[in-house]
Subunit: 391 residues, 4 copies
């Protein structure tokens, strides 16, 4: 296999999970704008995910969020998905929308609320079994808005206790991936504010707890690829929530802002997948790549296609980096030269390469163009009357 | 009059406007939590504002937001307010919640939408007349989410045109105060993103357009008191939206985060009010001080009382700064010494001084304590059944 | 002329000024590392600039900084430059390194210091005449480190007065371009902290004062291309200090961090150059593009070549944007589609196009490769013994 | 003992270490300004530290930095210090100023450089023994300036290896406290960029490695008190570098910017010192409080006195917080009320309380005033002719 064939092969096996709540109406605290043709229920969300997979060939799973996607019969839902050509992927509990959680869920001073939160996570762990998924994607949005409002240390202990109870309810093969976030919805402190908080919790829980990195959940300026590399080296990077941002947790589609950053993250991932140390490589190869964006003003499916394509672009460029040459330049202390090697790959137009990948996968060379020509949007606009689903 | 009496006198004449939408249920894009006893309509909001004024003596006006506070008969609403002991203050149009504004209001590519936006602002200008107010408080939330989405320069021209039409509709004595904001709800660019955008627009409009500074609308690190001083010196600071923040536009109550900043802003204001140049001093004395906070998880009225008190605290400390001594230290190039003068005032406990002010005003020495003892919250909890008002 | 020829033609006429202090030893407050072969005096700096021009064909001028490049006979220095194949470009006064400026230069409370600062700027204005340059590039680094240290408003007036005196000393055809900076070396406030400060000062000075945008001088998150567009629309953008950054004023070579941002800025510039309004277009075409970077750990000339190339890349991609199609998508409110048009240009590999430009200019297709092969670095390493020049 | 006596007693036992390099000329990359009377060598630095201790009674130790404070005979230096009334405290190696460290010290690709770095740290470990100190204060400034320049993961392993060698050289009772920093002098990535990097390294090293928190080394917005609490709970907070900042690592004196933050940090520390869990309490009581500021434009000793006083102020206010009442409000979910308890302490003027502490310690009630009246500055100005010490 030539290098190019090897890269095509590898890109053909990329797996990007789209998320059910990326196909619905979302917005800001100021306004949620509806767009025509938006999915109204979980089946329509799955239909959209399946369409994205048909158009790209690399999005075979769809993440669900409970209770937004709650149904009576999850096994049947899993069959529905399969009939459309996709599988159900990770399951996300919701610890931020019940009235009880006003002052926290797993960290609440009130034991009753903490119990309710644990019970909900365990419900989601049970759903994993029913749909045949192995990834519980946890975002604990807890935090405080004012100095003095809560005891940081007591909350941390509650958090660890609650997560442990949830962790123990996981199916045997399943894993908990634990998110962190700089701020929002809490505005003074967030209990799991950064990768250090998340990592130390995962280490307390056990082997099947790994950190989830949401690209938009960092303070401005933070070097995300460095965090990614650090977690990779410890085998503790479990997943991504993929999007892009300029300010806070903007949740724009991937690559919209600073695509170089996505590429530099991909470079670390590719390097870890190829590591001689099987512990590092194996952990890297089992990472969940989940889109997590909000199409607030734009059409949902085109936005999702852009994210999937941007992830393909980032990995394609990362695979093009001449890593031997890079190591030579590093060994020589050639700062400009090492950067040049990386930059050369970034400057390369990988669209022809992606066209070959898509040809291999039997999908359109231009997924977004194909979507536009397909009449799928118009069909949705006509059929999906009534209120779109939301959060 | 001694110095202390002079300060008491001056603090007795402070005027802080509370905002009707500070008495309702607000939250984040993730969840709006209701708290018991929250106002359900504009009259109950006015009742709450009136209560805050009765407890503090320095909050005689209440800002309205249209359409949240839209009524058929504004003259009657003004009378209702007066009966409760307050007046209607500034009027804020809403250019961000109509479905038509998905891609902008005054900056929209579609002339129909721009016209709709102008018409709405003119409606608000008309309300000014009906309620006898003289301040139109404008927040144009327009911006884009993605590179390329809009033409910055064309949008700017539409914006200037639209504002001019609105400006020309103002009652003769009325003024437009024009807000700026770093980001949110737009996540790539905001048309009026900083004081420079706002100031240049105001200068294009005319004498009766001044900049409104919302404390939470700056990039992290920005020196707000410096901006305040710059605008004061040009006679172009027209108003404040008062709150505090740690991250983005957190809208916490005033003084919750970094009260030193509020104090340093107050110091600039006091200095301008006392300026020998009457143009500067007069402009400073006519500034609108409007609270603009969101009590997302806490009770609304206590949060509002905290903001009012924090503004009193900031100005009391600012008035205590020995400005002659400060100027001496500055003239001597005594860096530590100049800072010390300012810090000495900040370290002073002004609660006794504020107690004297409240005694003079005939209000309780401890407004929040008095509120808690008054049974007003319990009465509201009992009476206000049903859905609270929101945005 | 085909479109491609037109683009090649336009790129052949690009003019990027390199700066003499980019060829010397610079570093952080912690350490300045020397690299072998670094220029030891102004003539060697000019030699390096001339070499960069020979290798790229688009860097015909070199900026000087006084007193770093002070000589007895500037006319002779200009001839020296010309003999090497370059001209002397903008002149930068230094208002931050004299012991007298500890508490400010043009803003100092001490009139003697202010006078000294004005005299120095006037000296630089005189140098403009002697070297035949028409651009005075002003950075006033003044600010304070502690609350209370200075009077914002008094400092502003001193600043305006001092700048006016300097402005009046400009040769008739010359222009002042006025920089702003968020922070450093001042850590509490900077007198010219943002484009608003700079613009209002320029407007107070007159037609021949325009704003200089240093890419690294903004708070994190600030949308620089929006500022650029705003200044362009007013005809008040006069120049750039080009570099890239991730945190503060990192002064890395252009395009190292987030090259998309450089591209989006270039897009605004290209659009203004083509504006139907000749006032806008003419002003855009007369903008000074000056590199302003610090090669702190890497070889100076390679770093400079990377910056020049990155600017060519950004403009090449900007010229490839299909602006008619972009406007169509905008008019249709097609958010994803408009972004796609811009992104398509960004994803294009413009290295073949730049090779054509270089062919047209008669310079090597790969300037950095040619430099490495030329032996110029080795020759410098051998010849330039002794202490390199610094700031 | 009454509460007030208890607080006085506790504040009398505060121990704040001043740092030798706080008494010398420091500045920015643009300029180092000298101020009159500044120390010229290590003995004069110790003299200044001793004076600060005589004036405050709470600064009995002085930190040294090698090689800035390198001497032939450390035992003799220790005796000199003791004769002046202070002891030598922590020792800081320097891994950022040798020419060899241009591309890193402990993380360098070149094993020779790594060895040199380890050897230097071991030299400092040996000095600990000679001066009778037990704290090695490590700042590894290593990082990269450009994407691709270094391998994050390989550097991390080198770092861990080097630190382990250094750790093993520590005297038996001594401890390594390990700093982290967001950016500067590296501008793309810093190897120990945040508390997560530092903590995981400390855990890899052993029990006698703890994290050092420098207040100025965080991204903007980061909640430092939350990090402090997290480290306290794990017994892994070992020390502070105390200063204040508005932008980057501004190194202003403590409390100059946002004194509320210093207070909220102190609140966590006081709470941990009083923890029922002896592991937590013991670790908290053994934390090193080291000033780390740069008086760039102001007189050094006054600036140091301000920092010491600010730390006393922060702890005094923290001790005044009614923690029982705070816990009651938290248990009730009273958000405003809990914040009020904390704010009440912050609003208290603790200068009378600190006067009592100083009376108990037998030092002047107003250390800075006493300094000014003492003639010590004038004596220094007269005696210390010649070049001040620097970095």
């Amino acid at each position: 296999m030539t290098d190019a064939e090897h890269i095509v092969d590898r890109l053909s096996r990329q797996h990007i999970e789209t998320q059910s709540w990326g196909y619905v109406s979302t917005g800001t605290r100021f306004k949620v704008y509806d767009t025509p043709g938006t999915a109204r229920d979980v089946r329509e969300k799955i239909d959209d995910a399946a369409l994205v997979h048909r158009l790209t060939g690399v999005a075979p799973t769809v993440a669900l969020h409970i209770p937004w996607d709650r149904v009576d019969d999850y096994a049947e839902l899993a069959r529905y998905a399969q009939d459309q050509g996709v599988r159900i992927g990770s399951i996300s509990p919701n610890l931020f929308q019940d009235d009880a959680y006003r002052l926290g869920s797993l960290t609440n001073e009130d034991a009753t609320v903490r119990k309710q939160a644990v019970a909900h996570v365990r419900e989601c762990a049970a759903i994993l079994r029913e749909v045949g998924s192995d990834r519980l994607s946890m975002w604990v949005a807890d935090g405080t808005n004012y100095p003095g409002q809560g005891s940081f240390r007591r909350r941390r202990r509650h958090l660890e206790d609650g997560l442990r109870e949830a962790y123990e309810a996981l199916p045997e093969q399943a894993e908990m991936i634990l998110e962190y976030k700089f701020f929002e919805p809490a505005f003074y402190h967030t209990d799991i504010a950064d990768w250090g908080q998340s990592l130390t919790l995962c280490e307390a829980l056990g082997e099947r707890a790994r950190v989830l990195v949401d690209i938009g959940h960092h303070a401005l300026g933070v070097n995300i690829e460095h965090i990614v590399a650090t977690l990779l080296d410890r085998g503790r990077l479990g997943g991504f929530d993929l999007n892009s941002k300029k300010y806070g947790d903007d949740d724009l589609f991937v690559g919209a802002i600073n695509p170089q950053e996505t590429f530099l993250i991909a470079l670390e991932l590719v390097s870890a997948e190829d590591d001689a140390d099987e512990a590092v490589a194996g952990a890297a190869r089992s990472i969940l790549y989940k889109i997590d964006q909000c199409a607030m003003i734009e059409d949902k499916i085109p936005a999702m296609l852009r994210s999937v394509t941007a992830m393909q672009t980032a990995f394609a460029k990362a695979l093009l980096v001449d890593r031997d040459e890079l190591d030579r330049r590093r060994a020589e202390g050639d700062v400009v030269g090492a950067n040049e090697v990386v930059n050369d790959a970034f400057e390369t137009d990988v669209r022809p390469l992606l066209a070959r990948v898509r040809d291999r996968l039997g999908v359109p060379a231009d997924p977004l163009g194909a979507y536009r020509a397909s009449g799928e949007q118009e069909r949705r606009n006509a059929e999906r009357v009534g209120t779109p689903a939301g959060w």
